[in-house]
C-alpha cells in the first residue's frame, strides 16, 4: 500500500476530535490530544479554517467544526425542490417565448426531465416529466455536460449516437461545443436530436455556484431558429429565466 499523507491524516484526526460532541477546543488541547507540536497543530487548523471545515470562536479563540462540513453532507438539491422553485419563472418563460419549457437534471447517462410547461397555444400536449433526453445532442444535455464534470464524463465516455445528419459525434467537435457553451453561457440544438426541432438552454446554479440543472425552451425550428439564426430574444429570455431560478435558490430555505 502506498504511504499515506501525514498532514491529511492529522487533519482527519483533528476533525474527529472536534466532532466528539458539542465542543470547542483550544489550540493546546488539540495539540496535546494528538501529540503534536503547537506550531504544527496551528498550521493544520489554519488550513482547515481557511476551507471552512473549522471555525474559530472570536471571543475565546477556541476551535469548532465549520459550517462547510454540514453543507458537504447536505449539498444534494432535491429535484422536486428545484421544480417548486422554478415554477413561477418557467411559467413566465413559456408565456413570453410562446414555446414549451423544460427543466432537466443529470440522471445516469442522460438528462431527466423534471419539469415541463406546455406551449401556450391551446393545442393538445402531453406532459413529458420523467422522460430522458440524450446528453450530447440536446441543448439541456450540452449545458449539463459543459458545467457539471460528472455529466461531462458521462457524455465523453458514453456512446454519442447520430440521431440526425447534424448530430456532432466526434469528441473534438463535442468538446468544441462545450467550450463555446461555457464561453457564452448557453447552448443550442438545431435539429441535432429531432428533425424539425430546435432548443436553447442555460445553466441553473445553486448558492455555491454548483450547476444543479438546466432550463430551456424547445420548439419548431422555423420559429426558434428562423432563417438559420437563433432568435436573440429567445436566448435572452432563457438566460434570464435561468438566472431568476438561480437567484431564488441562493435565497436560502423556503
Amino acid at each position: 500500500m502506498a504511504r499515506n499523507i501525514q498532514s491529511l491524516e492529522r487533519a482527519a484526526a483533528m476533525l474527529r476530535l472536534l466532532a466528539g460532541g458539542e465542543r470547542r477546543l483550544g489550540l493546546s488541547d488539540v495539540a496535546t490530544a494528538l501529540g503534536l507540536a503547537k506550531g504544527t497543530a496551528h498550521g493544520i487548523l489554519r488550513t482547515l479554517q481557511h476551507e471552512g471545515f473549522v471555525e474559530q470562536d472570536p471571543a475565546s479563540g477556541r476551535y469548532q467544526l465549520g459550517a462547510e462540513l454540514l453543507r458537504l453532507g447536505n449539498s444534494f438539491l432535491d429535484v422536486h425542490e428545484l421544480r417548486a422553485r422554478a415554477l413561477v419563472w418557467t411559467d413566465d418563460l413559456a408565456r413570453s417565448s410562446g414555446e414549451s419549457v423544460y427543466l432537466g437534471v443529470l440522471h445516469q447517462q442522460g438528462v431527466l426531465i423534471v419539469h415541463h410547461v406546455f406551449r401556450p397555444d391551446d393545442s393538445r400536449q402531453v406532459l413529458e416529466v420523467g422522460a430522458m433526453q440524450p446528453l450530447h445532442s440536446t441543448a439541456l444535455g450540452k449545458v449539463l455536460s459543459a458545467y457539471d464534470p460528472v455529466a461531462h464524463t458521462e457524455a465523453v465516455e458514453g456512446e454519442r449516437e447520430a440521431f440526425t445528419a447534424r448530430t456532432l459525434t466526434s469528441e473534438a467537435d463535442f468538446e468544441g461545443v462545450l467550450d463555446l457553451t461555457r464561453a457564452r453561457g448557453w447552448a443550442a440544438d438545431v435539429e441535432e436530436t429531432w428533425e424539425g426541432l430546435a432548443s436553447i438552454a442555460a445553466p441553473i446554479h445553486d448558492r455555491r455556484r454548483m450547476p444543479v440543472g438546466a432550463v430551456g425552451v424547445a420548439g419548431a425550428v422555423e420559429r426558434v431558429c428562423p432563417d438559420g439564426e437563433l432568435k436573440p430574444e429567445l436566448v435572452a429570455a432563457v438566460r434570464d429565466c435561468a438566472r431568476a431560478v438561480s437567484r431564488d435558490l441562493g435565497a436560502g430555505r423556503f
Binding site: 432535491d78 429535484v79 422536486h80 425542490e81 421544480r83 417548486a84 415554477l87 413561477v88 419563472w89 411559467d91 413566465d92 418563460l93 413559456a94 408565456r95 413570453s96 419539469h115 415541463h116 410547461v117 406546455f118 401556450p120 391551446d122 400536449q125 406532459l127 416529466v129 430574444e233 435572452a236 429570455a237 434570464d240 429565466c241 431568476a244 430555505r253 423556503f254
Partner: protein, 511 residues
Amino acid sequence: MTDAHTTGPFIAAIDQGTTSSRCIVFDKDGRIVSVDQKEHEQIFPKPGWVEHDATEIWENVQEVVAGAVVKAGISAADVKAIGITNQRETTMMWDRTTGEPVHNAIVWQDTRTDALCRELGRNVGQDRFRRETGLPLASYFAGPKIRWLLDNVEGLRERAESGDILFGTMDSWVIWNLTGGVNGGVHVTDVTNASRTLLMNLHRMAWDEKILSSMDIPAAVLPEIKSSAEVYGKAASGVLKGVPVASALGDQQAALFGQTCFSEGEAKSTYGTGTFMLMNTGEEPVNSYNGLLTTVGYQIGDQKPVYALEGSIAVTGSLVQWMRDQMGMIKTAAEIETLASSVDDNGGAYFVPAFSGLFAPYWRSDARGVIAGLTRYVTKAHIARAVLEATAWQTREITDAMTKDSGVELTALKVDGGMTSNNLLMQTLSDFLDAPVVRPMVAETTCLGAAYAAGLAVGFWSSTDELRANWRRAAEWTPRMDADVRDREYKNWLKAVERSMGWLDENTGEE
C-alpha cells in the same frame, strides 16, 4: 424581472395568507414582474388552538409590499391599484383609537369554539343559520370567534358596545391600516369575506340582525360590507402612498377569479395550507344537501353578486408542513415527493388528517387525525405516500358532492396553489378522480385574482372577457389507474375516515 416586459403600468396584489404574506406586482398581460414573501409565526397555545400576531402580520405586509416594489424597480406612480386577498375567517378585534389588537387573531383552523357552536345550534343543530348564511354552524367561521373574544377578553364587551372596538377578518385589518389606521383608516370588508362570518344574509348582502342577536354580537363592531372590486380608499403611507386600494376577496374566491371561472359551472381547486374547491353557480345561491357551503364568489362594483358552491378541506399542505416541522421526516415540503416516490404504493396505510375535525363533506368537529392500516411493513415512505393520497381522496369526496349538488359532471379539474408543483400528487389526483387535472400558467392565481379585481375597478382591464383571454394551460395530467384499484382504494379510504370520527366526547368537547 425576466425581460423587457416590465414597462408599466402595474397592479400590486397583497395576499395575506395563513402561513405567509406576499406581494406580487403584475403587468397588463397578467405576468408576474416581482414577488416578495414573508412567513409569520404560527402560535399553538393549546391543542386545537391556532393564533396569529396581527401586529407582526401588518409589519410583514408593509415589508413585502416594499420588497416587491423595490425588486420590480418601480414607484407608486407606476402602480394603478392595490388588490387585497386574505386567509378567510381568521378573526381579530382591535381598538379604533390606539390601533392595538385586543388579542391574537384566532385562525380559521382553530377549534376552540366547538362547544359554543353546539350551544348556539340550540335544538335545531348545525343548520340553524344555513338558510340565511349558506353555512353550517362550525368553529371554522368568524362569528363564533367574535363571540369567544367578547366573552373571554376582560372588559371587551363593554368597550365593544360603546363603539371603541372594531372587528375584522384580515382584509379589514390590512385595508384599515393601509388607508391610515387611527388616522382615518376605512373599516370595510367585501361580500366574499362577509359571507364567511355566519353573520351576513346571503340574499340581502347585509348583516343579519336576528343572527347578531342570537350570537350576542353588537353591530357596532362590524365593518361596512362593500363589493369585491371598487375603490375603498387610498394608501396613506409607505412606498405605495396615494395608490387606490381597489379590491378585496377571500383567498379562495380570489383564486376562482384568477382562474377566470366567470361562467356558471366553472370550478377550480386550490392546494395550499388547506384545499378549497369552488364552483361558480351564477347569480343564484344554490343550496347544498351534500355537505358543501353556499358562499359569495365575487361582486364587481354595482353588478349583481355571483355565488359559488364550496368544498372546504382543512388540512392538505399543512399536513406536509406537519411532516416537515413536527415529524422531521423531510427538510422541505417538496421533499415529500422524493420520499413518497421511493415506494410504489401506500403499503396499506391511510392518513386521515382531521386535525381540526373534518370539514366538507362531513362537518364533524368530534373527529381527530388517524393513520389506519399500519403493519410492521409500513415505512415512512408509505406514510409520505398516504399524506399525498389524503389530499387526493379528500378532493374526490368534494367532487362527488359537487356533482350531486350542482348536477354538473366533472370533465376536468382546474388546479392551482403551492402543492401543484408536486407532480406525483397531481398524477394521483387525476387517477383518483378519473378525470384530467389542469394547471394554468400562473400558479399564483390568488394574487392574480386580487390584481384582476383591482384592475377592473380602476379600468386597467376593461372586462372579464379580456382577462379570460390571458388564461393558458401550463400542464395537464390524465388518469392512468385501473378502475378496480381505484374503487378498492376509495373504500379503504372511507373506512379510515369512519375511524377518525367520534374521537372527542361530543358532550364536553374535551381533547
